[in-house]
Amino acid sequence: MRYSAWNVFKEGLKEQRGWKPAWRSPDPQQSYDVIVIGGGGHGLATAYYLAKSFGITRVAVLEKGWIGGGNSGRNTTAIRSNYYYRASARMYEHSLKLYEGLSKELNYNVMFSQRGMISLAHSLHDLELVNRQMNAMRLNGVDAETLSPAEIGRRVPILDISPAARFPVLGGLIQKRAGTARHDAVVWGYARAADALGVDIIQNCEVTGFQRGPDGAVTGVETSRGRIASRKIGVAVAGHSSRLAEMAGFRLPITSYALQAFVSEPLKPVLDTVILSPATGVYMSQSDKGGLVIGGGLDLYPSYAQRGNMPVMSNVLGAVAAQYPSLGRVRLLRHWAGIVDVVPDSSPIIGASPVPGLFLDCAWGTGGFKAIPVGGTMLAHQLATLNPHPLAKPFSLDRFTTGALIDEAAGSGIAH
């Protein structure tokens, strides 16, 4: 059933009893044209675009837990395209544009709120980088403006911009089209739309191995719910990409780290933008429920534990208390960590793997949520045509052999 104000009204007259589950829970078939491993945002978006753009509907999405239960449910929901290099800017800007039309496209309100994102400058060097970043973004066709300390003070009154502040504010960069979206809604919206086009979403189905033909190409997967055959398999499993690669017999330039995030108790509205301090790596926004959503840097040793360590937690929260003094006594409601796959140049790996028939959408590191629509678009294009999507060409795995790295670690002004 289409979601609309009229249908909500009509169902209201019938005590809301007519709604159906938003997607089916089918048993796996014996074979599919395409299998997508990973029922997060990227995997479900891939399935959706395979069905919608290429008419390939014999598609299974295999998820070891429940959809959206991994990093899709563990991120801080920020969406932006303030990257430095042309290849990244084009790709993330494409994603942002898809987000701008996503609620309508999926007939599902993903609550995309373009509240802007401000990156602060705390020193003259930061200020130079802000100007450099603004120019780079504008040259790449992405909106960017610089802000004075007074403008930042007006926009974010809880931020300490006094000259005596521990982190004095000398200026900032704003991307006004950046913002946040409801992460569960993005996952559920893609799931519902893919299901409606005939995609099988199979939950509680863990992939335990790959089947290979005599030529080495994949012919299917072994799962906790039996064997499923397919000659085209996409892998979109975020922090666990190395484990899938190990099952298929190759290695990736990936190290898995834990990235922590925090949500405070609900507060009255105090912050109407996303704000990032590169000096402390801390960024923050306020959810519609009133909770402050806070993120920081990585826990800097390899980890598959979906929980964070104390030193990073105290750094992040100490920085919040120093920069936003009025929040010093706010209590946390929840705290968690997701496992992110980090590569030396902090850019994703999209496209062919060393195993024929097996394709990758991984290494998004700390920034996969904002890339869900474009990640799905690129992996679907690769699976359908066996050629890389034009936006994905610079992000192939062989850049670690050719040396054509896209080093966004510093360029995007984010902490990795």
């Binding site: 190395s242 290695r251 990936i254 052999t401």
Partner: protein
């Protein structure tokens, strides 16, 4: 908070240390005879296991020396710390270093 036992300084909080990633990586030799694929693998490929990981750490707020740690990436339990040039200690029957 992890407690890491520096082979020179003894047990200290993890705050004093910095992780340098996978250990026991052997540089292919001689460099001029190595093709691009092998060199790229040497520079970037990681084992990245879910379980025990042999890694290099530096006691950067202490003696500043490097050493090896055998650590589980899920539980973060440290089985052993050992010198840079040593091989990883074998598991004993109870799963701890001899």
């Amino acid at each position: 908070m992890l407690q890491i036992s520096c082979p020179w300084c003894g047990p200290r909080d993890e705050l004093e240390f910095r992780c340098g990633g996978q250990s026991h990586i052997i540089r292919p030799d001689p460099p001029e005879a190595i093709d691009d694929v092998s060199w790229g693998k040497y520079l970037s490929e990681k084992i990245n296991p879910r379980g025990e990981h042999l890694e290099r750490w530096q006691h950067n707020a202490g003696c500043r020396r490097w050493f090896n740690v055998a650590r589980d990436t899920v539980t973060h339990r440290i089985r052993a710390t050992y010198h840079m040039t040593e091989a990883a200690p074998a598991f004993s029957a109870d799963g701890v270093a001899p």
